[in-house]
Symmetry: C2
């Protein structure tokens, strides 16, 4: 089966909003073994929608539509489908009861438009909306477009995502009688090119039914191995075999075998071992602390952060020696080391990380160009002795991108240190 996505909304056609729905749907469908051949953004006028639906249903087995399902006059998707397939809109008691119930929980009186909201296309299968109001629908197009399926979903990302995961994918998996299994491999510290070089021998002979996706994320590339077939045991076995073979090739870059961020992985290691962390940042300007505290529950292990931009604050807050600043410059492994050690002493944390560098666009030097960062990690090693590691990393980008890459390198260094520490 092949699919096509139609995103409805004038706001997408004037560039007011990024179309994040279509890539999400495309990725989930691909993982379920259904390829998406086209993504189309079209205006929310009824005639445009109807024209586009007709064109897409000619071409594809499954047409997934988001947007235009609300109760306002701008929302014309249901009407366009009704006109194209010559079907009526009928009142659905179940949908109405569900939304009235939801309103009651908020202690609000049901608004008159809830009846309009509960009108669904004749013969449609309802996909419950667990967070919003407009129901989704799966429609078999019958005689008008034999064997074609139309899926209608709201444009609100959270509502649509839930419907795709819990309604749409299970439905099409069931009618195709298949099983799908995924394995997640999260890498950091290298790009798609290097990874695909390493994986190529496996990728070139991927067995039928298994696919591999490279999904970029902030800290690196996530690999997703998806296997589909009819027998669960066989599918799981094949998926595991391929995932394990890939893990063997790219092992040094893997930070997690589940779908989590680098900061979540670091947080898990800290929490599991009962360790605390603090950070001392110059060029990353608080971004390392911010990423560490993006993780829910981080207050258990994150103690404190310092953003020390000026030399004076590096000396005062962290005890960096002015002689070190003079001898090596603020951007040096020596200063990064003293920052990390000073942070350890000031906070009593078990591990600390520091950054000092040049995010740009100004401030680059011949020997220390824009994109240079010196990082330090300090921790209490055996016998409680303070140990300190430093490294220098070079990246290329604009100021914001450099800050992000610097913070990635810092988190990576913490992650590596924790990995190497005896538990």
């Amino acid at each position: 089966m092949n699919a096509e996505i139609i995103s409805i909304g004038d706001e997408l056609l004037i560039g007011q909003r990024l179309n994040t729905n279509a890539p999400f749907i495309a990725s989930e469908m691909a993982a379920a073994g259904i390829g998406v051949g086209r993504i189309i953004v079209c205006s929310d006028q009824e005639t445009s929608i109807e024209d586009q639906l007709a064109e897409s249903l000619e071409r594809s087995d499954i047409v997934l539509v988001t947007g235009g399902l609300g109760p306002t006059r701008d929302d014309r998707t249901k009407q366009a489908v009704g006109s194209l397939l010559s079907r009526n809109l009928v009142f659905d008691e179940g949908v109405y009861a569900q939304t009235v119930e939801r309103y009651r929980n908020y202690r609000r009186e049901p608004a008159p438009y809830l009846r309009e909201n509960a009108m669904i296309l004749e013969g449609a299968r309802v996909i419950r909306n667990e967070t919003g109001l407009a129901p989704g629908m799966i429609i078999r197009c019958d005689e008008a477009y034999p064997d074609r399926w139309l899926v209608l979903m709201p444009g609100v990302p959270r509502e649509m995502e839930e419907m795709i995961r819990n309604g749409v994918i299970p439905f099409f998996s069931e009618i195709s009688g298949g099983v799908i299994v995924h394995a997640h491999i999260r890498t950091t510290g290298t790009g798609e090119t290097v990874l695909s070089e390493l994986i190529r021998p496996i990728e070139d002979v991927l067995p039928e039914g298994t696919s591999l996706a490279y999904l970029p994320h902030t800290a690196g590339v996530a690999l997703r191995v998806s296997t589909s077939g009819s027998d669960r045991e066989t599918v799981e076995e094949q998926n595991r075999a391929i995932a394990d073979a890939i893990r063997e090739k790219v092992g040094e870059f893997i930070y997690a075998n589940e779908d989590i961020t680098l900061e979540e992985s670091v947080g898990k290691m800290l929490a599991d071992r009962g360790l605390t962390i603090a950070c001392a940042e110059s060029c990353t300007g608080g971004l390392v602390a911010s990423r560490l505290t993006d993780v829910s529950g981080s207050s258990r292990y994150f103690l404190q952060g310092f953003v020390v931009y000026s030399n004076a604050s590096k000396e005062k807050a962290l005890g960096v020696r002015s002689s070190t600043l003079v001898a090596h410059g603020a951007v040096s492994e020596e200063v990064a080391g003293e920052m990390a050690e000073g942070c350890l002493a000031a906070t009593g944390a078990d591990i600390t990380v520091s950054s000092t560098g040049i995010a740009g666009p100004l401030g680059g030097l011949e020997t220390k160009p824009v994109g240079t960062v010196c990082l330090g990690v300090a921790f209490r090693g055996e016998n409680g002795m303070v140990e300190c590691r430093t490294e220098t990393v070079h990246v290329r980008g604009d100021r914001l991108r450099n800050k992000i890459r610097f913070s990635e390198a810092a988190l990576r260094m913490v992650w590596k240190t924790l990995r190497d520490l005896p538990v």
Copy 2:
């Protein structure tokens, strides 16, 4: 004239990458008075491209294509256009010379594929690529599709953006004989709904040739007033009149009359007055410091940041009294105020900002639900006396969104304080 955008690339069809090119083009074209009726993502197979081009050229005056212009075997756009329009690819000396020259600057020998790169469609007008290699093209489709235009651009965002701004928009403006003028109004602290309510009386009677776009950004909504016409003076006058009328209606929410972020606006005010800033953050976890230091040149005014997650660090680093923590709880305006004042004393900055709140999803209380943040701003007022303002803000979202909204509220509070201070 109406337009249509085709984004070519299999990576967009499996959800591996967000399509940011199309919204950019759509927004620029809309500002130039050319509406985009459809955005289509299609596979990079030659037959798919050719089918899609034929379909789009039937429908729209201008078809803008990105992707598939590189020199590798995957790149089939030029071939697809050649086949559709029955045109040959011809070698362009100018393009070749330009890329060879660029290579020389990097002291590299011209690669053989540079000749392939310099093959352009017969009769095409070249759009120079200032940063990359593949040239863009504007093609009048002549007898095959009379009065239709085809624009080919690389998929690399930076190269494409430059071509749109410096090649494509000026070209179509010139053939339409028009002038376009924009006014930017940056607002913060409210949403599109409130703004459009306020602006409606003006929007309902917008003169022909002037359009208004609501463009969401991290800190709020940017308004862009675009006016097109044939006479520059008239166009500028009309644009200014409408922009001024809007400014009068939404004045309280405006932080800038140019296209800059809230943190840039705060930075400008600080730099212009020679003031310094420091921050003390709990729930925002370093994000306020990170945003302030996202601005190039921020080392001139940003002194230091504290990320104080634990009560102990609030006391130790900022001198918050434990009696205040006990009496009012960590999330209180009293603690926010002491954090801001303590930060002022510790750093000697002219103004400080603090945050303490509950980002969630855990930690919410009956009286202080998830999404509550208490903010403080301290500064030296008249006679050098320390003044302190506090406020409590409620937002709704997941942890990351709450952190972002909290940091916006903090920056907004700094901005308002600076606005009210005598210069």
